[in-house]
Amino acid sequence: MIAVFISNIWPSNILSATVESSSWGFSSLVPGLRSGGYLKGSMASTDVSLKRRPFGQTSRPDAWWAQPLLVFLGLSAFIVYSTWAAFQGEHYRFGPYLSPFYSPELFGTAHSWFGAKPGFWPGWLPWSPALLILWAPGGFRLTCYYYRGAYYKAFWADPPSCTVGEARKHYRGERSFPLIVQNIHRYFLYLALLFLVVLSYDVWEALWFTEAGQTSFGIGVGTIVLALNVVFLGGYTFSCHSLRHLVGGRLDQVSKVPICQRAYFCASYLNRRHMMWAWTSLFWVAFSDIYVRLCAMGIWFDWRIF
């Protein structure tokens, strides 16, 4: 076995490399190489060992930081607003409208599924119906393949952007705890599908307005806001990579199961715009809450179309 050590070849010590060669005679092709390398791991007889670059170092002249910064600001704004809104515990209903942050309302007002505030709720924790449910859609987004790639860059700088030096020396990826838990994504998908059913029912409810004791069919701006919320959340959920796998991607001969083939085709079509669905639905679900909240607070007026 021939050990080859390559070092000190990069300006500012950006890169050094070690090559372990067994049978292919690499060192004879490279003049000036000296022995003394080391073998690391067992993936292949060739070992490549490169020196890491300092955090943020890159040869890219473009604004590589712009996209992760936008993602950071966008996701941070959503997290701050949704956390604030979830802890409010009021102004989440207006007429037939229910904020998606509070749907399904398991416990809370007279409209809730199971009655008032549950007895098991700890006294030290502020009560809000949203806290009972938001973990599910939150977990769906947190473990989403698109968001993972986005927030690994924007929040962890791992990497900050493509070909930009990283801060961390050690990297475990999604192989071990805690990030191995990301593999739970498909279970959050199952819950997200249930939420879609509930939110669709909320749209149905938003079509029936009660005035002076009389309930009548109608459409308000809020109805359209909630309906669009279901459309965008549906686009996001049905374009999910896990769903795409489950409905047909897991099959090597998907053509043998026509319904799976059709579903796989549809999921793949939506999946090409998964990032767009992710951001559109994120924005709109927050806007839906804002709309209902401001109407309930009397700041905005809900215009009835008919």
Binding site: I9, V30, G41
Partner: protein
């Protein structure tokens, strides 16, 4: 004629530095044309690997202004020529000389991936029958020209130096092409999870961005493989389901 400056890394295993070359550029030129012009006029010892000049051989991979690209497919009118254009060798592999790196680690990795193992022939004449829809999915992966730009841009390799534990996007695409093939009967999921380190990929999609063949590496190859690994090793419901219904003939053949 308009002139542009190219800041090219010159050196070998012992060391090196960037050297500025100013040369004339004209309409339609690509980075490789400029490198050849510099090679012919100013630096006859400049080492540069190339072959087809058509984006099909994958030889002229380098980093142009910090991003992995094929030099023959990078037109100068897409670059800001008012500043020097930086041309460097790929950073995920050991340097040989100037713009040439030793990519043989990739050949070693490829040997470790289980080969294509078709089911018995469908017809007495020794032929198989496949549906076009089934083969379409893996056809995309066959476009790969093995330029290794995706390997170069992958931070698991270039920043974290995990060549010993992670096979990189190129070979996840290769494994996906085999694993999803309608005729293949081999099971590569255990190796993908353990020895080949698919869990190291954190889906930053840099590989997809730099692929000169526009292969949707992350969405169509890596994530589907990750999902298969999840189904095989991390999903208790799927495992429970398999107790009562063993893997169907159309799954993972």
């Amino acid at each position: 004629m308009k002139k542009a400056t190219f800041r090219i890394w010159r050196g070998d295993a012992r060391g090196g530095d960037f050297v500025d070359y100013t040369t004339e550029v004209s309409e339609g030129m690509v980075v490789l044309d400029a490198v050849h012009q510099i090679q012919a006029e100013q630096a006859t010892d400049l080492a540069c690997r190339w072959n087809c000049k058509a984006g099909k051989c994958g030889s002229c991979s380098a980093e142009v202004n910090g991003m992995p690209r094929l030099m023959c497919m990078t037109r100068l009118n897409t670059l800001p020529l008012e500043n020097p254009v930086t041309i460097e060798p790929m950073k995920a592999f050991p340097i040989i000389k100037d713009l040439i790196t030793d990519v043989s680690w990739n050949y070693e990795v490829k040997k470790r991936i289980k080969k294509f193992k078709p089911r018995p022939p469908d017809a007495p004449d020794g032929t198989w029958r496949m549906a076009q829809e089934d083969i379409d999915r893996v056809q995309e992966f066959r476009k790969c020209i093995e330029c290794y730009l995706c390997q170069d841009v992958c931070h698991v390799l270039r920043e974290h130096n995990l060549h010993a534990e992670f096979i990189g996007p190129r070979f996840l695409v290769y494994a996906a092409a085999l694993e999803m093939h309608p005729l293949d009967t081999e099971d590569r999921l255990k190796e993908l999870k353990d020895a080949q380190g698919i869990g190291y990929c954190n889906i930053t999609k840099c590989c997809t961005k730099v692929c000169p063949e526009s292969i949707t590496i992350t969405d169509n190859a890596i994530i589907p493989l990750k999902e298969r690994v999840v189904g095989e090793f991390y999903d208790p419901l799927t495992r429970l389901f398999r107790i009562f219904r063993p893997r169907a003939s159309s799954e993972q053949q």
